[in-house]
């Protein structure tokens, strides 16, 4: 996908620059631009670590602590994934970011007919607590936090994480997990949804309520503008839609009599880094500021730390090209630079071979090294928010703020996020944009090195990439494990815990404590999700055009 529109005159000089969010960039900026916009230091920036946190969440930022790196990892059986986890930790990674295969994400066991050919393919296959015991063996769960990339059945995986921790000798108060658990964004992009909108939102609400009460160090939701952007949203929409989705979850939880102050501090975000460098930096700075302002003014949140927009700024998948794949190594480094210049707390980088398949160990380590270079060699830890005060960056940040607010207003005009997704407004808009961007890319209106005719290289087309390979053995092994599990577990416990879960799902009790019991009884993911399927039904996706 292209980054910005450059309109040139007949001699090739740039006449106009228009960013994807719709912002026109001037040839030069000066003090008059900030003056015209009414910019003041106190109102718009504040000192690092001070409201509205445009500059940084912490006064010393990377000086006190470099960013946390969390490469997305997981494939095959829990054994393979456990090995890769240990490799990444031994190489300095300080948090996990767990990938699940599609059957697990969609709540099917490895022996379900729909799982055929998919077991262990794009992430690890998890059927029961047994698999988590293998995957997390030897990982210090009191020190290493885990992001769990799962949404429709995030409640199940969060319960399973608690169960595995307890099994391995940790208490639920020691562990830190961040399930992705953002079902509304799955309905806009990525597509791993199961249940109808209102039930999906209820499950998110249940997990937040439970985390507030039982899991003090866990962050129950990671709001993913990331995938919305990957589906064709502009950077301004990426932030705006994530915030409107957050509001939908906040509404669900406050209806349970819990104050925003008590849970919004547990939200984290996942945003994308590909695209125009300056636009991304302005996006992150504006987002930190807007989130804090919104929580303070609209939800009465007062405690400073609870106003933080915390999260992972990284990835960049849609920016990668299949053509000339090695170019993606350099491309990723620039994306990571943008994240570092934006003060990303946590980061991860798509690996150069991800336009083909999931990364090899070599390419995953290359990404990790790229991130380390920025912190240890290039100088990104030297001083906080080094671009602050730039006439251009501050003007752009203000304009980005306006654009984000405009996009949020549009969603509100449509009746809020739940409604806008239920009737397909957002999906249609984003798909249409993706189509227009793609057309622009193919016509050369947007430039992409390696894709445009002038950078096509006949030699590079033939480059072989060493690829991660799918192994049919994984499915055979998973199915065998599952068969053994079903034969050896205590059926009575399984049945009674699933019954209790069914009652909670059909009523209004929080499903989380019941899920933890089901996990401990070795009920399978497919069985637990099956209870939800029966209770909630499945979503009927609206027409997209």
């Amino acid at each position: 996908m292209g980054v910005a529109k450059y309109i040139k005159d007949e001699r090739g000089a740039i006449k106009e620059v228009i960013y994807q969010s719709g912002i026109k960039v001037k040839p030069a900026y000066g003090p008059e631009d900030l003056e015209k916009a009414g910019f003041t230091y106190e109102k718009d920036l504040g000192a690092p670590g001070e409201y509205p946190f445009t500059r940084s969440l912490h006064p010393q930022s990377y000086r006190s602590r470099a960013w946390t790196t969390r490469q997305y990892t997981g494939f095959g059986t829990p054994e393979e994934t456990n090995e890769r986890f240990k490799l990444m930790i031994a190489n300095g990674q300080n948090g996990l970011n767990v990938a699940f295969d599609l059957p697990t994400q969609m709540g099917y066991d490895s022996d379900h007919p729909l799982a055929e050919g998919e077991v262990g393919r794009v992430g690890m296959a998890i059927d029961s607590l047994k698999d988590f015991e293998t995957a997390f063996a030897g990982i210090p769960l009191d020190r290493i936090g885990s992001g769990l990339t799962i949404n429709a059945v995030a409640t199940i995986m969060m319960a399973m994480y608690q169960a595995v921790a307890e099994k391995l000798g940790y208490s639920k108060t020691q562990i830190s997990t961040t399930p992705q658990n953002d079902i509304l964004k799955e309905m806009i992009g990525r597509g791993a949804w199961i249940f109808p909108v209102e039930h999906g939102v209820r499950l998110v609400g249940d997990s937040i309520e439970y985390a507030v009460k039982e899991l003090p160090k866990s962050n129950p939701v990671s709001l993913c503008g990331y995938h919305i952007r990957e589906s064709g949203a502009t950077p301004a929409q990426e932030i705006a839609y994530a915030f409107e989705i957050a509001k939908a979850y906040i509404d669900n939880v406050t209806q349970r009599g819990i104050k925003p102050e008590d849970f919004v501090g547990r939200f984290s975000f996942n945003f994308n880094v590909y695209g125009n460098l300056w636009e991304q930096i302005a996006k992150f700075r504006a987002a930190r500021k807007l989130w804090a302002k919104m929580l303070k003014n609209e939800y009465g949140v007062t405690e400073k730390k609870k106003l933080f927009l915390r999260g992972l700024f990284g990835g960049g998948g849609s920016g990668l090209t299949k053509e000339q794949p090695e170019n993606n190594i350099m491309r990723g480094a620039y994306y990571a630079l943008g994240a570092a210049l934006s003060g990303a707390q946590t980061t991860a980088l798509c690996s150069f071979d991800e336009a083909y398949t999931i990364p090899t160990p070599r390419s995953a380590l290359l990404s990790l090294r790229t991130l380390e270079m920025l912190m240890d060699e290039v100088g990104l830890r030297d001083t906080v928010d080094p671009l602050a005060g730039s006439y251009f960056i501050e003007s752009l940040t203000l304009e980005m703020e306006e654009k984000i607010l405009e996009e949020m207003k549009e969603v509100q005009k449509w009746g809020g996020m739940v409604k806008s997704i239920s009737n397909g407004f957002i999906q249609r808009k984003v798909s249409r944009q993706a189509y227009e961007f793609e057309k622009g890319l193919q016509s050369g209106e947007y430039k992409k090195v390696g894709l445009n005719p002038e950078s096509k290289d006949a030699m590079a087309e033939k480059t072989d990439v060493e690829l991660h390979e799918y192994n049919e053995e994984w499915a055979i092994k998973s199915k065998a494990n599952l068969k053994e599990l079903r034969a050896t577990r205590n059926d009575k416990e399984v049945t009674s815990s699933l019954k209790a879960l069914e009652k909670a799902a059909k009523g209004s009790d929080n499903v989380m404590p019941h899920l933890v019991k089901c996990c401990h009884a070795y009920a399978t993911v497919g069985e637990m999700a099956g209870v939800f399927r029966d209770a909630f039904g499945e979503w009927d996706e609206p027409e997209f055009y």
């Binding site: 099917y108 729909l114 589906s231 798909s431 189509y435 793609e438």
Partner: protein, 132 residues
């Protein structure tokens, strides 16, 4: 296009993968190029795809597959199409398809393969060729 009536295409997403941007933008591109496009929606079984293809009397089924499982999926669908007598319906496939798999797909009877990176023009040219 040389035929008088609009050519009917079913763009379908088989399996559990939910990455539908490619399928959706190809659907939009084909519609702009004059085709009648039906989109299956996500998480379709091959049976569901067959059913829609028959009900909608389509001329082409266009599968979008990102998961790497294109060989077994296409083989299965081709057999189902033969069993159901859909001899005049073309099967095409797009998505993350390595070049070395294209000959095998064609051998089993896939009419056109559009790996990621194929331009809209490349897709419509390939499709139009089928109806000359």
């Amino acid at each position: 296009m040389e035929t008088k009536n609009k050519i009917r295409v079913l763009i379908a997403k088989p399996g559990l993968d939910g990455h539908d941007k490619g399928a959706k933008i190809v659907a939009l591109a084909l519609r702009d190029a004059g085709y009648e496009v039906i989109y299956s929606g996500l998480h379709q079984t091959l049976d569901q795809i067959m059913q829609t293809a028959i009900q909608e009397a389509v001329d082409v089924i266009g599968l979008s597959i990102m998961s790497g499982a294109h060989l077994p999926i296409c083989e299965k669908l081709i057999n189902m199409m033969k069993e159901q007598g859909l001899f005049d319906v073309y099967l095409t496939v797009g998505g993350v398809i390595p070049h070395q798999d294209i000959p095998r797909l064609k051998e089993m009877g896939v009419a056109e393969v559009f790996p990621g990176g194929t331009s809209f023009e490349g897709i419509t040219t390939g499709m139009n060729k089928l109806f000359k």
